[in-house]
């Protein structure tokens, strides 16, 4: 074993809290305290490994330093794929860094170190969730999730493929959470906290698997970190600070039953960090000796507050090596090289140490295949979670499944290039200088830059954009090194004065003044003088006052503008309505008001219905109007009231015309509303009668006497719907001559609201739909005899659902129907929801589920078969994507029905005229897309096949 303390790895004497070696072994990151911020530094590994590289001036030691964290950095961790670095700090933030390959060296401006950054690492994501210092971060196997723990007692699980989405916040610790480790198999994540507990959480449902407290009951919360570790074979979890017989230990917890029978003893003070070697070893075969089969073993490094480090092999009872007095202060973090032979340790004293082992000392590391074989042996074929890359290693169990998977891959390939890995989304800077060198630009920058005056006379400079943030190329920009302007005066002559020094760091009172003062208009002269006292120049003062006036003027101007815009919007909306109604035409007839051509005759109604009963508006009577009905073949209805007066009664004429064919009929009263479908024509008259004719003009039934004047009348197919002014609804099937809805009151939906009916229509299946002005839409179900809410514009569920990923392009057609009509515009608004990143994923998931189920039920009650099918498929896709197995099973069971017919079964073979088993045939390929459900797929596929053969 070789030991090295590279003195050049330091944070200028400030503590180093974390160290992590990059998976490719070429660099490592340290995190800790910077000058006045947190600091993350990326170092070159080569000078640590080889002395000649350390001496070679041309080999950079420091690759990049980032001082973006506002406070001390407690943890740095590379992702397993090496593309990202995550850091967590006292500023409550987790930052994710990615290397930007676009610009040459640059320095951290103003830092005392003049070393240039060789590599450019850029913060691509800031994860805000914790309300306290972030103590530890950890990437899950395969980088599916990133976990972070904090002194706010919680652990956040971030979706590493969709930052900043939070998958789950694990709550349960009652003390500061100071360490995290993922199970290498991916089934668990373990956390250790100051509340004397170590908790193991399942990744399947993010619930607590076990809570281990016994070994920690004696522990005091005196360590800065509690970095625990899981062995690479997954069999052992080793805690940081634990106590056994009042001696500090590292507790070994067995995966099998979470037994706590063993521990690492020997450190004199609390164990701060445990780190397993990523490799599994087997005994080095000595030359000549008989190859004796030996058990593979793991290797583990333990660091403690007692400033010593111990390295253990699970095959030995005593530590392999113990190094005392390696540091002046507590050990904070340990990291192994991927080959398992190197080890970096960092300490609060601001130094790091490197240990180099030989294979003779540790043993032969198993290769990945052998390691996988061990995993296979212990955990079997079915790995607990099927995420991403793990999926591909799952065995496809039947040929049908294979077929679907292959088809799916075939379909995906054309779009393969657009696969949305996180890499594609990360911003990169690109050069926007058109061939001009930066030096040229700098020479003329002052002349070239655009300077304007704002309305209040202030200078405004448009900065020259020299590099854009986007996803594009990697063109190199000339380095913007600090120009070293040589001073003529010797530096010693400039004696820094203390009074001046303070000015560098204190915010001057004058600075925020100029912009913030003007906001208070009623400021007394005295105050103003005080505020601008530091700005002695009279010009400055003038600026202040003029600024204030202008600001106020602008404010009131913009306010007025806002109002005007509002009015415009209202107007636009009004204009927009007829168009929307026109869209409704295929299904039913819009409100007649819209289609009135003339409004000359405004005689008051002679009917004497009590006003109190008139809840719904009735259309006024017009001299004549025409309306277009049914779109298949342009059909017009023309009404002319009072065409002639015959023996005291006024006759009105109704004229029907379609493509040259026409008929007319006379009615003894003035016509208020006329409407029709392809099959029937319905006419409501002033005398509260309703007449229904066939499309050929034959009267179908004698005039129906209505209880109140007609408010709205719709026809669709053989159905006629009447909404009276006394807020009652009737629907008749005029072909069968039956009433579907009999004078049903709208009171249940109208009472308690100020709302009135804003729109109504009748679906082809004869379901009456009524929209209210408060944004709610109801339909009346005649079998339940209930009003059912099918759409609500204020529904927060709609606002927050996100099922776009479940909608395929072919689905667009299926979504046309009465349901889409009532909520169409809302749905597109709901899609904005995905942008509201504030909604936690699990909540959104729940809301989407609830929404989709509501859609399905609404489509069912509206008897809208195509929409039902549409939403069923989306629902199934959603269940498959999000892994709701129980619901999926229930859905399949309902669609399949009993395999063997029995008389007691109430199972219907069809739903809305769609054969359920046909629907299942459509749903199954969807299920087949997720290998996780392959058993389910196979089960139902087989049963369906069986039924087909019968």
């Amino acid at each position: 074993m070789k030991l090295l303390k590279p003195s050049w790895v330091n944070h200028n004497g400030k503590p180093i809290f974390s160290v992590d070696i990059h998976p490719d072994g070429t660099k490592f990151a340290t995190g800790g305290q910077g000058e006045d911020s947190g600091k993350v530094v990326i170092w070159n590994m080569a000078p640590v490994l080889r002395e000649e590289d350390e001496k070679n001036e041309n080999i950079p030691k420091l690759l990049c330093q980032m001082d973006n964290h506002l406070a001390c950095v407690n943890c740095v961790r590379w992702s397993n794929n090496g593309l990202y670095l995550a850091s967590g700090g006292d500023d409550k933030l987790v930052m994710v860094w990615k290397r930007a390959a676009f610009i040459g060296p640059s320095t951290v401006f103003g830092s005392s170190s003049k070393l240039a950054n060789v590599e450019q690492w850029r913060c691509v994501m800031i994860l805000r969730n914790h309300t306290g210092d972030v103590m530890d971060v950890a990437w899950s196997p395969h980088d599916v999730w990133l976990a972070s723990c904090s002194v706010d007692n919680t652990i956040a699980i971030w979706n590493a493929r969709k930052f900043p989405e939070i998958v789950m916040t694990l709550k349960g610790h009652t003390g500061l959470v100071k360490g995290l480790t993922w199970d290498p198999v991916g089934k668990y994540i373990a956390s250790q906290a100051d509340d004397h507990s170590l908790k193991v959480w399942r990744t399947m449902d993010w619930q607590l698997e076990t809570n281990i407290t016994k070994p920690f009951s004696e522990c005091g919360g005196t360590t800065h970190v509690l970095r625990l570790s899981w062995s690479p074979d997954g069999q052992y979890l080793v805690s940081a600070h634990a106590m056994n017989n009042s001696g500090p230990t590292a507790q070994i917890i067995e995966r099998d039953g979470w037994k706590t029978n063993m521990d690492f003893v020997g450190h004199r003070k609390a164990v701060t960090v445990v780190k397993f070697n990523p490799k599994i070893f087997k005994k080095k075969q000595k030359n000549g000796s008989t190859p004796k089969p030996s058990c593979p073993y793991c290797c583990c490094a333990v660091g403690s507050k007692d400033r010593s480090l111990s390295v253990w092999l699970t095959s030995l009872k005593r530590p392999l090596v113990v190094i005392h007095d390696l540091f002046d202060k507590s050990i904070m973090d340990i990291t192994w090289t991927l080959n398992g032979l190197g080890l970096l340790v960092c300490s609060m004293d601001g130094t790091v140490a490197f240990l180099d082992f030989s294979q003779d000392e540790l043993g032969d590391p198993l290769n990945e295949e052998e390691k996988n074989a061990i995993h296979q042996n212990i955990y079997g074929k079915s790995l607990a979670i099927m995420m991403g890359s793990q999926l591909s290693s799952t065995i496809i169990e039947n040929p049908e499944m294979l077929k679907y998977q292959q088809e799916r891959q075939g379909n995906q390939n054309p779009n393969g290039a657009q696969a949305s890995g996180p890499e594609n989304q990360t911003p990169k800077l690109t050069n926007v200088l058109n061939g001009e060198s930066l030096e040229d630009i700098r020479k003329n920058l002052l002349k070239k830059q655009v300077e304007t005056r704002t309305a209040d006379g202030r200078r405004r400079i448009t900065p020259l954009c020299i590099a854009q943030l986007d996803t594009g190329g990697t063109a190199a920009v000339n380095s913007i090194g600090m120009k070293s302007n040589l001073l003529l005066t010797s530096a010693s002559k400039i004696e820094p004065m203390k009074a001046l020094d303070s000015r560098f760091t204190e915010r001057s009172k004058a600075t925020p003044g100029v912009t913030s003062v003007p906001l208070t208009i009623g400021i007394t002269p005295l105050d103003r003088v005080k505020d601008s006292s530091s700005v002695k120049e009279p010009k400055g003062k003038d600026e202040t006052s003029s600024d204030s006036e202008d600001k106020i003027v602008v404010k009131s101007m913009t306010k007025r503008k806002g109002e005007m815009e509002g009015a415009e919007v209202v107007e636009k909306r009004k204009k927009g309505r007829p168009r929307k109604d026109a869209k409704m035409m295929p299904i039913s007839q819009p409100f007649p008001q819209v289609t009135f051509l003339l409004s000359t005759d405004k005689e008051p109604s002679r009917l004497t219905t009590p006003v109190a009963l008139l809840k719904l508006p009735t259309p006024s009577i017009q001299k004549s109007f025409s309306t277009q009905v049914s779109t298949d073949g342009v059909t017009y209805l023309e009404v002319e009231n009072e065409v002639s007066v015959v023996s005291g009664s006024r006759l009105s004429q109704l004229k029907w015309s379609r493509e040259g064919r026409e008929w007319d009929t006379l009615l003894p009263s003035r016509i208020i509303i006329a409407t029709g479908s392809s099959d029937v024509v319905a006419v409501a008259c002033e005398d509260r009668t309703l007449s229904v004719f066939t499309a050929c003009g034959r009267r179908l039934i004698p005039s129906i006497m209505l209880p109140a004047p007609m408010s709205a009348l719709h026809c669709s197919g053989h159905f006629v719907m009447a909404l009276t002014a006394s807020a009652t609804l009737s629907v008749w099937d005029v072909q069968k001559q039956t009433a579907l809805v009999k004078n049903e009151s709208l009171n249940p939906i109208l009472s308690g609201t100020e709302a009135t009916v804003s729109q109504s229509f009748l679906t082809r299946q004869g379901v009456a739909v009524v929209s209210l002005s408060n944004g709610k839409t109801y339909c009346f179900n005649s079998s339940l005899e209930t009003w059912n809410l099918i759409a609500d514009k204020q529904d927060s569920l709609v606002q927050c659902t996100d099922f776009r990923s479940c909608v395929s392009s072919q689905d667009a057609l299926g979504s046309m129907g009465p349901l889409a009509l009532t909520q169409g515009r809302n749905l597109s608004a709901g899609r904005l929801a995905s942008r509201l990143s504030s909604t936690p994923h699990h909540l959104q998931q729940g809301m989407t589920l609830a929404f989709l189920e509501k859609q399905l039920a609404s489509a069912l009650i509206l008897l809208s078969a195509s929409e039902y099918r549409h939403w069923l498929l989306i629902y199934a896709r959603f269940l498959v994507n999000e892994g709701y197995e129980l619901r999926l099973r229930e859905l399949c069971q309902d669609l399949l029905g009993p395999v063997h017919k029995s008389s007691s079964s109430s199972w219907e073979t069809t739903v809305l005229g769609l054969r359920k088993r046909d629907l299942l045939t459509e749903v199954l390929p969807v299920i087949g897309q997720n290998l996780r459900f392959q058993r389910l797929f196979t089960e139902y596929q087989d049963q369906l096949e069986l039924l087909r053969l019968k």
């Binding site: 305290q33 006045d36 973006n68 506002l70 406070a71 001390c72 500023d91 401006f109 103003g110 913060c123 309300t131 002194v151 706010d152 007692n153 500061l176 100051d194 919360g221 005196t222 360590t223 800065h224 911003p427 800077l429 700098r442 920058l445 830059q449 300077e451 202030r458 200078r459 405004r460 400079i461 448009t462 900065p463 020259l464 954009c465 590099a467 854009q468 943030l469 070293s484 302007n485 001073l487 530096a491 002559k493 400039i494 004696e495 820094p496 009074a499 001046l500 000015r503 560098f504 760091t505 915010r507 001057s508 009172k509 004058a510 600075t511 100029v514 912009t515 913030s516 002695k536 120049e537």
Partner: protein
């Protein structure tokens, strides 16, 4: 984290006669599109004794600022000599460049400035009343002093303050013993002494 990072400030026309305008070429990088302008200021410290003699040489709005790397030259007239105490005209003082966003200062870059006569005769026997035409201004460009302040970058004021600046609930406070040597040196902790509220 600050949305705007100052990458470099180059001091142009330095050293120069006292009456020449100040010129700073500022390169900064912005993480995302800023809806509002940045306000830059050059403040000349007239006297080390008192802030009273500070002069805001100029303030400019810089915008629009889309995400990316930008540069501009900030030029401002030399200080009004009438406002500088005669005793402080010659010698070392400070010039500050500050940048504010939504009225909050987030970065302060300070340079030492040495004003001295170029003429050896005047250097030996400086006149009682400073002769500004003979003074040379020399900015110690190689040693900028940068102080960053934690500000609220979002428009939603209260929310941000809650999540970033307020201490965690009392029960989650760290026991003092568990945080050894983590506090930055006293007197130099502008990030933590939040005064933007």
């Amino acid at each position: 984290m600050a949305k705007v990072q100052v990458l470099n400030v180059a001091v142009l026309d330095n050293p120069s006669p006292f009456g020449n305008p100040f010129q700073f070429e500022i390169t900064f990088e912005c993480m995302e599109d800023l809806p509002e302008d940045l306000e830059w200021k050059i403040i000349y410290v007239g006297s080390a004794e008192s802030e009273e003699y500070d002069q805001v040489l100029d303030s400019v709005l810089v915008g629009p600022v889309p995400a990316g790397r930008h540069m501009f030259v900030f030029q401002a007239d030399a200080p009004n000599t009438g406002l500088i105490p005669e005793s402080d005209a010659v010698g070392v003082t400070v010039v500050l460049i500050t940048c504010t966003y939504r009225g909050q200062e987030f970065i302060r870059i300070g340079y030492y400035v040495n004003n001295e006569y170029t003429d050896p005769e005047l250097r030996e026997n400086p006149p009682v009343k400073p002769n500004y035409t003979q003074l040379q201004r020399n900015i110690l460009a190689s040693n900028p002093r940068v102080t960053r302040f934690h500000i609220n970058w979002e428009a939603t004021l209260d929310k941000m303050e809650d999540s970033e600046n307020v201490d965690p609930a009392p029960n989650t406070m760290l026991p003092p013993t568990s945080m050894p040597s983590k506090a930055p040196p006293l007197g130099l902790m502008p990030d933590n002494s939040m005064d933007c509220l």
